[in-house]
């Protein structure tokens, strides 16, 4: 990386950048510019997040009182099914890789675009096509199988709604994910600018790389699973449905072989974002670059070996359960290495308590809780009691929602100046953070308590002893929602009324900060050569232009 940052705001001599270089909706829908594709993904992902979030508020509203008085049991089942399916398939999987990943990857590599720009566009359109199927299911009343589609209920055993359409939607979405992963792997291998060695790759890209490997290896298995389930429904092939001679536990093996690694597709990019934000906003070189890079790969690899921890009480053999439990502890090791390395990075750092750092610190707290509670679930003996209780719900919302979402928000704020060329209002952002953080923890922490005391999940009514925890959780969820709307509000406002952002507001040294804010269409105005590591900050540098 060159030692001088670019001055000035986001336009080249002709005054154009990737946002205004071409105009009209067709120039967006048929773009092959990775930055525009990333922005389109961001808009659609956040829209689906809103849809999934509203469904969640419906669930939480029902659970405010012990009686099932707001919705019928059947409607409630459809609410949480669609909430889960939308959140997992439409939001969390593309949340960071397809949005921030698409935008930032070529910039951090110092190159023009991804390896296959047209394939990148195709990935986006395939995503939208898959989403259309799920939206159709949503509009026509949904399905009530749970997002996990367990047989025999989902194979013609009485499930309501358009199960086959939902399966088709998820099947199509899988291809979007595979093609994006394929694109990113080739890009990282073949399109690095001179000087960007593997040892100088920003940790965000190591994370994206490991994620992409999982996407390519695991997603086809869910594809064939959903495909077989479709035929189980239509033809009665008899592989998963016991009434037809099949094995329902076999379905769960098929399902979780993908669905466990996919949580690392969600989490690894989040870890990548945190590696970027925790360094730049504390002006410290990352503690343990090699450990963090290697742990990303280790998590991806180990993540493929442990899917049976979702199936301890399913009917799989006890011996299998025991071995899966032992292996599951293994994945905690590289994850803990990351967490401890980030904390060590902050130590004696020059920490800037801006919005990005607040979300980063929130992530560390939240992911610690999420990860540690995972240990109770990994342990076979305790999981027998906790399985299908709210403890599980709280655990995965802590890692998925708290982990991935907070990292997404941190990343959005961190790269907001680069993407939009505008700065957001720090004061409003910090106030919103308080609402978001309090609301989030109030929503999900009580669920650990309710769950460990026995409250089952996926029930629209419960016994009165759990009422307090549910009321706290519901109040928290609406607070959280309010906070997120505040975030949306000031971010949108910044697009129209925000100050113009300099090229390098945070003083970063990775290559994306050499591009203008927003970048020109071809990313850089000339050839790029990398001469430093991504966290080799000069001593006590002050960021150009703004003091954040």
């Amino acid at each position: 990386m060159s030692t001088t940052s670019l001055d000035g705001v986001g336009h080249d001599s002709a005054g154009t950048n990737y946002l205004n270089a071409k105009r009209g909706i067709m120039s967006w829908l048929f773009t092959i510019d990775h930055k525009r594709i990333g922005v389109m993904y961001l808009v659609t992902v956040l829209t689906f997040f809103l849809a999934g979030g509203l469904l969640a508020l419906g669930v939480r509203a029902e659970l405010f009182t012990p009686e099932g008085d707001l919705f019928s049991a059947n409607t409630y089942n459809r609410l949480f099914t669609l909430h889960g399916a939308i959140m997992v398939f439409l939001v969390l999987v593309p949340a960071i890789p397809a949005t921030l990943g698409n935008f930032v990857l070529p910039l951090q590599l110092g190159t023009l675009d991804v390896a296959f720009p047209k394939l990148n566009l195709a990935s986006f359109h395939i995503y939208v096509l898959g989403a259309c199927f799920l939206l159709f299911v949503l509009i026509t009343g949904g399905v009530d199988t749970g997002w996990t589609f367990y047989t025999p209920y989902s194979s013609g055993g009485g499930a309501d709604g358009h199960v086959v359409f939902a399966l088709m939607g998820a099947f199509i979405l899988g291809f979007s994910s595979i093609l994006t992963g394929l694109n990113f792997i080739v890009t990282i291998h073949k399109m690095r600018a001179p000087g960007v060695t593997w040892g100088r790759l920003p940790l965000f890209l190591w994370a994206i790389y490991a994620t992409s490997v999982i996407q390519v290896l695991a997603t086809p298995v869910i594809a064939i699973t959903l495909f077989l389930l479709m035929f189980e429904n239509i033809v009665g092939i008899g592989i998963f449905d016991p009434a037809l001679g099949g094995d329902p536990v076999l379905f769960q093996h098929f399902f979780w072989f993908y669905s466990h690694p996919v949580v690392y597709v969600m989490a690894l990019p989040a870890f990548g974002v945190i590696s970027e934000t925790v360094t730049i906003h504390s002006r410290r070189h990352i503690f343990g670059y090699t450990a963090i890079a290697a742990s990303s790969v280790a998590i991806a690899a180990i993540g493929f070996l442990i899917w049976g921890h979702h199936m301890y009480v399913s009917g799989q053999s006890e011996l299998s359960g025991t071995i899966f439990s032992m292996l599951t502890f293994g994945v905690g090791l590289p994850t803990a290495i990351k967490l401890l390395s980030w904390i060590a990075t902050l130590y004696k750092g020059s920490i800037r308590m801006n919005t990005v750092m607040l979300y980063t610190l929130a992530f560390l707290w939240i992911f610690a809780i999420g990860g540690l509670t995972g240990l109770f679930l990994a342990t076979l003996a305790t999981d027998v009691h906790l399985h299908d209780t709210y403890f599980v719900v709280a655990h995965f919302h802590y890692v998925m929602m708290g982990g991935v979402l907070f990292a997404l928000i941190a990343g959005m704020h961190h790269w907001w100046p680069k993407i939009t060329g505008k700065m957001f209002n720090e004061s409003i952002a910090k106030v919103s953070w308080v609402v978001v953080f309090v609301g989030y923890n109030l929503t999900f922490f009580p669920q650990f308590i309710a769950g460990s005391r026995g409250m089952p999940r996926r029930y629209h009514q419960y016994i009165p002893e759990f009422e307090l925890w549910n009321q706290l959780s519901t109040i928290g969820s609406f607070t959280f929602g309010l906070g997120l709307f505040m975030v949306l509000g000031y971010l949108l406002q910044s697009i129209f009324k925000g100050e113009k952002a300099p090229a390098n507001p945070w003083g970063g040294v990775s290559l994306e900060w050499e591009a203008l804010s927003p970048p020109v269409e071809h990313n850089f105005s000339g050839p790029v050569v990398c001469t430093k590591g991504p966290y080799d900050f000069p001593e006590a540098v002050s960021p150009v232009g703004h003091d954040h």
Binding site: D113, A115, V186, P220, V221, G238, L244
Partner: protein, 223 residues
Amino acid sequence: MSAAAEHGHEHHPPYLAHHFFNMNQQADSVKMGMWLFLVQEILFFAGLFMAYIAMRYIYPDTWLAAAEELDKVMGATNTVVLLTSSLTMALGVRAAQMGNNKAVAGWCAATLLGAYGFMIIKYIEYSHKLHVGLLPGKFYSFEGLEQAATEAPQIFFSVYFMMTGVHGLHVVIGIGVIFWIMMKALGNSFNSENYAAVENVGLYWHLVDLIWIFLFPLLYLVR
């Protein structure tokens, strides 16, 4: 970009995409992408093989009895047909490496003959099964297997049709892309540095062959 400057001349033929520096980078990237695509194909078919393994483990006697209803001669013929088409495809890639467009088109045509041959034999097999009721799941109506000795024979045929059906779909897609390559060759598109498309279609076709290499003994030669 700096790498092009090293070459000493701005060589950017029309078949080199603007975001690549040179043909080697482009060809290597496209081939790596193709291998990654093949990886996901392998994992896709892995699910079908897993279903086979599980169901065969649960119903071993059914497998022995039901597999007898498959025509081994047709299966073996199809194996030879696909292996031969793999050879012709590989020779087509070789011709492309040598810049011989006419030969590429010819070898593609030969490969297509093999692919069509495969589909015709498949059609004969499938129509026979349709005729006698050897069909998957709820459509199974064959009376010829001793029901007392075997249970759930329809599951064998579910697995058979899912595996050969998905494989057959991939053969049809293969026919499409090989035809496309043949047309490009007839238009003299390829030369000894620009042949990646032929190579990658070849890789796809070899994978289709690879899958059949495993399908054939597992479905047809159960004893």
